[in-house]
Symmetry: C2
Subunit: 222 residues, 2 copies
DNA sequence: TTGTACATCCGTGCCGGCACCCATGTGCGA
DNA sequence: TCGCACATGGGTGCCGGCACGGATGTACAA
């Protein structure tokens, strides 16, 4: 009978691409202290899995997923299981969602362009309740973070409201204000109002940037 | 001394995400008849790798990559190494690029949502010089393919010209006709002409759809 | 040589995006 | 109770996207 120092961490792996899940699972399962015990293909499945299994230690979440984005799923998971650590995986090295991820309850943020070693280290850091910032963007991120922390009061609060997200999605899908108004039974002017508020909140210039934003966070598919 | 029936196929693996490369490599290397002998992070690296190594049997290419898209890389590879089989990997189940991939010289087209078994089978099919169509979309794809083959003469020829692709990229990045005109030293009206031709050729409605198209094929990042 | 594809340019007109301005009602928390 | 955020609605005006119409020059292939 062997007596390991501690059992491996129980991990929930969430990504909409089965192939990526499989690959990441192989990477993580190769580590003696990490074990993928559940998989999910979207945010809703992830929440369901966390509801079933109270013994999860860590959730590794892709940012962009259909039905429920990784950010939304992170918020749900953090609410449902306050002890669960959350690591966000992202396609793009873009750091502007780092804070969005932190606000959503994530403790780490890892782009898919990193090496497998870095992912493993990020998992371990998250399990030790340390924030993991991927190497390379570290300086820029920390500088930006410190800037904001110094100037304002902590993280900027700018999540869009539910109604705004609804309209954000429709705008990003290419619908006109009139079409959206007809869909939601409101005036096209109200849609324009919402759209302007969204652009202002997210610091975007026009529909086109809004569309790219929606794609980045997985709200819509390209 | 063992004497295997034949040596494993030599595979070039191309994806801009190191994590995905690592995972896919683990999947393929687990098969006795498949071996990843080279990796590349974008199309340019892939072409360089194929130039160095004349003994490659198969290239597994992600569609969306920075600098040179998977489709462009496939064209280059097919020109450089006519014997090399090419398998396209794509993020989106969308089948409208299947023909684009075929024209670019690919013999298979696999979405990342498939299971690892399917990827392995697709590699083997490509190595046997058979076309692989992923399960599920098979019927719709074949039906569409047969429709086109029956009605017209083979595959529809509709690649955009180099100039058009240049403008396509700039339009998708959100530049106005005037900005693009200033950049390329041409009249904004000419830019609009090109844009209209592009929309018509690709069957798109407006800038927004054009942007999503450019993101899907990796011409720009969201 | 003649046609065809490509790139270049122009005018006209409509419609929608977007930036400003404004106001009202509702609900919630200080 | 008083503000504040949120959702709702309106007006005005500019500019750019996009659909039409037209044109020229050049290069290359049938």
């Amino acid at each position: 009978m062997t007596s390991p120092v501690r059992p491996p961490a129980r991990i929930l792996l969430v990504d909409d691409h089965a192939l990526v899940r499989r690959g990441v699972r192989l990477i993580l399962d190769a580590e003696p202290d990490l074990e993928v015990v559940a998989e999910a293909g979207d945010g809703a499945e992830a929440v369901a899995a966390a509801r079933r299994d109270a013994g999860l230690d860590l959730a590794v979440l892709d940012v962009a997923m259909p039905r429920m984005t990784g950010l939304q799923a992170a918020r749900e998971l953090a609410r449902l299981r306050p002890g669960l650590r959350i690591l966000m995986l992202t396609m793009y090295d873009n750091e502007e969602y780092f804070f969005e991820a932190l606000r959503a309850g994530a403790s780490g943020y890892v782009p898919k362009s990193v090496a497998d070693r870095d992912l493993v280290e990020a998992c371990r850091a998250a399990l030790r309740d340390e924030s993991f910032i991927y190497p390379g963007a570290e300086t820029a991120l920390i500088r930006s973070y410190l800037d904001r922390a110094r100037s304002g009061a902590g993280l900027p609060e700018r999540p869009v409201t539910e109604r705004e997200e609804e309209i954000l999605k429709l705008v990003a899908e290419g619908h006109t204000s009139k079409e959206i108004g007809d869909l939601l039974f409101i005036s096209p002017k109200t849609v324009e109002r919402h759209r302007a508020n969204i652009l202002q909140k997210l610091g975007l210039r026009d529909r086109l940037e809004l569309t790219r934003y929606a794609i980045r966070v997985g709200l819509i598919e390209p």
